[in-house]
């Protein structure tokens, strides 16, 4: 098992290096690095000085090495807009995005898993068919449009919930969180629901498909033949077998929630990383863009790594393979 983990870690390292190469090529070869890395407001003399400072007059190979060196130092240059290190600007926004994504994930699991379990166990009931139709809608509805409709209905027409910003925050573990205050929670609800919509449908459908596969298995029938109560069969025998694919999906989708929060944050004015990256793209704040992309790469590679570990913990068969 240890060797598997080490092998996976090395693979993950390679992926990160490969992605730095892609981002570097994207920014420095396909795009014009002078445009991308230098504040367009500078005059000619300053431009030349910065080009020299950034080493853009050197060979690509050396540039890549110094780019890597910068990464290891955690330095992506200063944001043109905020005049502070790009990474700091992003990390400040991290808690807001994490909070939103976590909340959406919890909603998606709490709603999607039981509904999927129900629809899978009793596929012929009318309620199950309604659930499945609803999930098709959840898949097809464009997230950003649903967000707008949320605002229209709950914020404008009914006036129940606010539509913009994080509301009051409270400090916890050195960061500020909305879910700790009532006002913050009311601000959090609509964006979290919006972000959760697609993932709820996804988890629901996966769970249902999984249930339908597992209930066909002999071991479920054998569990019945043992005289086990239906609750135990569903909650232990079926659910534990389902957890393997579902946990994988939850892990993978958590990353995609962070990525898709770009849309939700823009709609609800949620001051997280997603809104920042869109603003940065529109304002051509390149250091922030590069820092954001690199952070996402590291995030996704680490997530995949963690999922691998969870997998080995959940499925005893994988564990044995690792030993051999």
């Amino acid at each position: 098992m240890i060797t598997t983990l080490i092998r996976r870690a090395i693979q993950a390292g390679f992926v990160v290096i490969a992605m730095t190469l892609i981002v570097f090529i994207g920014v420095n070869v396909i795009g014009n690095p002078v445009d991308i890395l230098i504040n367009p407001d500078l005059n000619q003399a300053e431009r030349l000085r910065v080009i020299e400072n950034l080493g853009l007059d050197q060979s690509l190979w050396r540039q890549y090495l110094s780019f890597l060196h910068g990464l290891t130092q955690g330095s992506f240059g200063d944001s043109f807009v905020y005049g502070r290190p790009a990474l700091d600007v992003i990390l400040e926004r991290l808690p807001a995005t994490l909070e939103l994504a976590l909340c959406a994930m919890v909603i998606a699991i709490v709603v999607g898993l039981p509904l999927g379990l129900y629809a899978g166990l009793y596929p012929d009931r009318v309620s199950s068919k309604l659930i499945m139709t609803g999930s098709i809608l959840g898949f097809s509805l464009p997230t950003f449009w649903v967000g707008l409709m949320f605002i229209l209905v709950f914020a404008v027409q009914l006036g129940w919930l606010p539509s913009n910003g994080r509301g009051d925050t409270a400090e916890f573990l050195g960061a500020r969180w909305s879910f700790l205050t009532g006002d913050g929670l009311s601000h959090l609800l609509l964006p979290a629901l919006n972000l959760a919509l697609f993932k709820t449908s996804l988890i629901l459908r996966l769970t249902r498909a999984g249930v339908q596969e597992v209930v066909m298995q002999d071991f479920v029938k054998f569990a019945r033949a043992k005289g086990l109560r239906e609750n135990r069969i569903i909650l232990v025998h079926i659910l534990k077998n389902l957890m393997i694919p579902v946990v994988t999906i939850i892990g993978l989708e958590f990353g995609s929630l962070i990525a898709f929060s770009v849309v939700t944050e823009s709609i609800f004015g949620w001051p997280g990383m997603g809104k920042l990256i869109i603003d940065s793209i529109n304002l051509l704040d390149r250091p922030v863009i590069v820092a954001y992309l690199m952070m996402m790469v590291v995030l996704f590679v680490s997530l995949n790594f963690i999922i691998d570990i969870c997998y080995t913990l959940l499925d005893p068969r994988v564990r044995l393979d690792g030993k051999g």
Binding site: V15, P142, F144
Partner: protein, 314 residues
């Protein structure tokens, strides 16, 4: 008799067609269509899709106004509610937006942009992805592991992030959005094409073709490709819907289509600023059009998957 002659004279053609013809004959097209339409959801899907394509194709004839022609727009008519009439007495069935643009006409023209972007990007991604997948399956070895590593890498990042990455590097615009969608989606096709091709590759008629030293290109195109087509078509259908959704999302974020030639996403984005004052129609109706488009395509794709999947054949 002829076949026997061909094989004894050593021409590989006859033998291979003979071997390939042992594969089960494809089901009759008419029967397949009847089976396809046996599910009511499929009929709804086809009907919706027909409507959408019809409107998009004939938009210039159907629409009351050319929304891209700034001369036809009258700022006096801006933000009119659905059902109101213009200064000159023309009815605006779905209202107007902030520039006095008729929403209905905007939707019709917007559908064109959305469909073109969706179909073009899905098609290009299918072409690139399928080629890569087939190459991987047929050539094997280092080429295969390189392509598949790339696919794995690609698939471990969500589409929107890949699209953002491309747009951050290349800049905004419709063409770049198409490129971004291709970059974000090709890997799905590659994985599917390779998966199916690997199964096919082990079958005897491919083995036979190889033994007879039929050129690789021919084996790929004539034998592997047709067998991979069914799953690729299903994915492509679904991906058109995804691409339309992604384009709308990117346009909504201001990274896509230009302001003067709005796609559906852009129309919705334009309505965003008026939403808080209760002018719902500017965002609402384009969203409904988007919804109908995506749901119709998904319904059709869902049914296609059931019909084309040999495991579901009865």
């Amino acid at each position: 008799m002829e076949r026997k002659l061909a094989s004894t004279t050593g021409s590989p053609e006859g033998v291979v067609t003979g071997a390939a013809s042992e594969a089960p004959p494809p089901p009759k097209v008419s029967a397949a269509i009847r089976r396809f339409l046996s599910e009511p959801t499929a009929i709804i899907g086809v009907a919706g899709l027909t409507l959408v394509v019809f409107v998009a194709v004939f938009a210039p004839l159907l629409s009351p106004q050319n929304p891209y022609d700034l001369m036809q727009l009258d700022i006096m008519d801006s933000r009119l509610a659905p059902g109101s009439e213009s200064f000159t007495g023309v009815p605006y069935h779905l209202g107007t937006d902030g520039q006095g643009r008729d929403i209905l006409s905007g939707i019709m023209y917007g559908l064109r942009t959305s469909l073109i972007v969706g179909i073009a990007s899905a098609f290009a991604a299918a072409l690139i992805g399928t080629t890569a997948g087939l190459m991987a399956a047929y050539v094997g070895g280092r080429t295969e592991s390189f392509i598949m590593r790339l696919v794995d890498l690609q698939l471990s990042f969500p589409t929107i992030l890949m699209a953002l990455m491309v747009l951050a590097i290349l800049g905004n615009g419709v063409t770049n959005v198409v490129l971004a969608i291709i970059v974000a989606e090709w890997a799905t096709y590659a994985r599917t094409a390779r998966g199916t091709a690997l199964v096919e590759r082990e079958k005897e008629f491919i083995e036979a073709a190889r033994c007879l030293r039929i050129p690789g290109r021919r084996v790929l195109l004539r034998h592997l490709l047709p067998n991979c087509l069914a799953p690729i078509i299903v994915i492509a259908t679904m991906q058109v819907a995804r691409a339309i959704g992604l384009e709308a999302t990117l346009s909504f974020l201001g990274l896509g289509a230009s302001v003067t030639q709005p796609s559906l996403g852009m129309l919705i984005a334009n309505g965003y600023q008026y939403l808080l004052s209760g002018l719902y129609w500017i965002s609402f109706y384009p969203g409904i059009a988007l919804l109908i488009t995506i749901v119709s395509i998904n319904l059709v794709g869902d049914r296609l998957r059931d019909v084309l999947n040999p495991r579901n054949a009865r």
